[in-house]
Amino acid sequence: MKKSFGTTGLILDEPLLWEKGAKGRTGFSMPRQEVEASPLDDELVGDGPDFPDLSEVDVIRHYTRLSQWNFGVDTGMYPLGSCTMKYNPKTNERQVSLPGFAGAHPLLPAELSQGVLKILFELERYLAEISGLPAVTLQPAAGSQGELTGMLIFRAYHQSKGAPRSKIIIPDSAHGTNPASAALCGFKAIPLKSNESGVLSPEAVAAIMDEDTAGIMVTNPNTLGLFEENILKVTEIVHSKGGLVYGDGANMNAIMGMVNLKNIGVDVLHLNLHKTFSTPHGGGGPGSGPVCVTQELERFLPVPRVIEKDGRFVLSEDFPESVGKLHAFYGNFGVLIKAYSYIRSLGAKNLKRATQLAVLNANYIKEKLKGTFYLRYDRPCMHECVFSDKNQTPNKVTTLDIAKRLMEYGFHPPTIYFPLVVKGAIMIEPTETECKEDIDHFIDAMKAIAEEAKNSPELLFEAPKTPKVGRLDEIAAARYPCLSD
């Protein structure tokens, strides 16, 4: 094995929370008993939960050790395709923890929360400018809730025309959550195959688009990392039959400042602030999935909406055609602040630059690795490129083996086995925040692994040996589920 960033590290074991501690300890500074105890009806009182009692030191060590078993963007390159694992700026964390933001009660009167409302108002304007779609809601708590919002808007739009529609077109290169989001709104998903170049063909869309089809959900660039070059024709066909176009903005990092979504015919777009706008993924959330729409669809956006009135900001419920509320309050405000800080830190020029460098990094990797790994669609990519294990198949080495071996070289593996249109897919999205040297190290590691696949494949089959645990028995986990102690 060549020299790499991989390391066995100092990995200490740590039991489960309830396997440690002792009754009577606490990790909490309990307030003084200032008022008289007031008894509660015995009928209502329970035994209290069976939690372990731990000291503050116990808790700190427990989670510090756990954290050391995790790989994050701050640990190293995390080229997880379609997830945009870019650097999460630390100044954003500082802003969100300001007492005026962290402590803000959501039902404060507007006159006592002007700063918060101003941020919401301005962030909507920035996202409108970046997407090209003029009206924005920040309420959806993640991308898939954004999709649901979008589908509710589709539904409301067709109902307002007096002609509800029952179907929706979803290409095979669209995001995984799209069909489930459409189904929640009662739409039947009509699958559409991409053509031999990996993009949508207008003829295929025309053949299935009809007046009972609410529209199409397009991810552009798609999950193959390719720009949908026929998008104008596709959106024209859908519009001509009275349909709407949904844009899944998960891949917005490829086109910031380069494409105005409205001009290419998108009517509704969701953005993933935890991808494009640098907010951390938190090991699975919280995210944020704002939705941007055309002027025509603005009346359907969720309420309340922030509006400016005589130089003051207020929340308004006065939108009778709104699809309603998706979040108890206004969405993941703490995530919105981070995206706001990011946009204010970069400005127009650097946002576009971020996109350019993300695309540069992806194309560089694509050129360097093609030949070593099979590239199903050999054409200029956007922010990510999709290889497969086809060249390694003769040695019985799979994408999974390659991914596991990559961990030992000190990298988080790419997205694997997605998109489904490429068998054994290895989907690499480096993002713009990786420097050339780290990308070169990654390329070297991938090439070294390809050599190992030929000469000593057992190294791949047995990987990973360096982390806390080796390959886990996922089949047993699903067959005999143990979800709690």
Binding site: L16, A141, L152, A180, L184, G283
Partner: protein, 444 residues
Amino acid sequence: MRYLPHTPEDIAAMLQVAGADNLDDLFKAIPDDCRRKDDLHLPEPLTEWDLNSHMSTLAATVAVSPEYKVFMGAGSYDHYIPASINYLLGRSEFSTAYTPYQPEISQGTLQAVYEYQTLVTRLLGMEVANASMYDGASALAEAMLMAIRITRRKKVAVSSVIHPLYRRVVQTYLAPTECEVVEIPYLANGRTDLSQLTNLEDLAAVAVQSPNFLGCIEDLKAIGEKVHSDKKTLLVTCFSEPLAFGLLKNPGSLGADIACGEGQSLGIPRSFGGPGLGMFAARKQYMRNMPGRLIGQTKDKDGKRGFVLTLATREQHIRREKATSNICSNQGLCATTAAMYMAALGGTGIRELARQNHDRAEYLKSGLKKAGFTISFDCPTFNEFVVEFPADFKTTHKRLLEKKIVAGLALAPYYPELANHYLLCATETSSKEDMDTLVKEVTS
């Protein structure tokens, strides 16, 4: 720009490999008529210190404790967050990781969330809990969809004293399903009116909140018995204040089939309502019908204990349109926070803290009562209760805002029949002195 590491030399070398003359050339795949011709119009970039001062100025306009005394809960509670929690959340190995698709290098997140699931089952007295939903409102909405899937029935009943904003989210989620949502009225004592249940047939679920939006602790046992007189109907209990279960009987022991709600109280800052934490638990028989991610325990090749995402065949990326939900990202870091907070409190601590919340709210309640105000509902409460003030109280409420006291939430916008009624909240952070001041000020 400090997040963009490329030097001009790097760019030149990389462009050469990519076969492009310049950065713009990389975007050839975008047809000319799809290209944006103008530049983005956004404010000029701020330096780190300019951003600090800009944000600090905005944050300073917001009324927060300790400067303001906010006696308002209504789904967002002021609880003390130990420094240890914030410190641990600064461990970016947790915050900068993605959903744990590669378990070998995600055991930190996986064990933390497995522990969270376990603590949630213990807190709520349920058998299985998921890795979290977005918030209490969407958790309740997903619970109703789950009950509809399980029972294949098309009607649900929802107590009118469930948080009004949660009920609106339920309406949004159920609108496209053609399912009917019936609201159950409440009694003069502030509890859900059980007598209305007898008229409702073929219900997929009955949903109640306890403590409910008016602060009242529901008689869940009686509700459960009534609901289960139809064997198919599920009892869904929700909550906005999980700390209550440090003291009160948990929903599982009282017959809940699904228990869900908002976990913000468990160490998560109010942050203008989000991110919070959708807690979601159910009886084991419904495990495969649950929405959201689940973490399970398993072993590696050498028999070492480890944790993985499991039962993914319920999920959207495999089952596509037949999935139990479309949820993908959840509130992972908030679930981790809640677990840290529950671990810091411990069994002894959560009981003591819950007692203090109850006792302080009772102190404030009796103070206001002695001062001559009417406590609207005579049901037992936890840390919130409703007071009826005189008709001109709106002016007093405004005057108190100037004195940096938020004297509860006016209920009239949510319940028109409750004009002049205010929902007040006291937690462990409400000092005796501040509560005494509040009573004095509303009286004067």
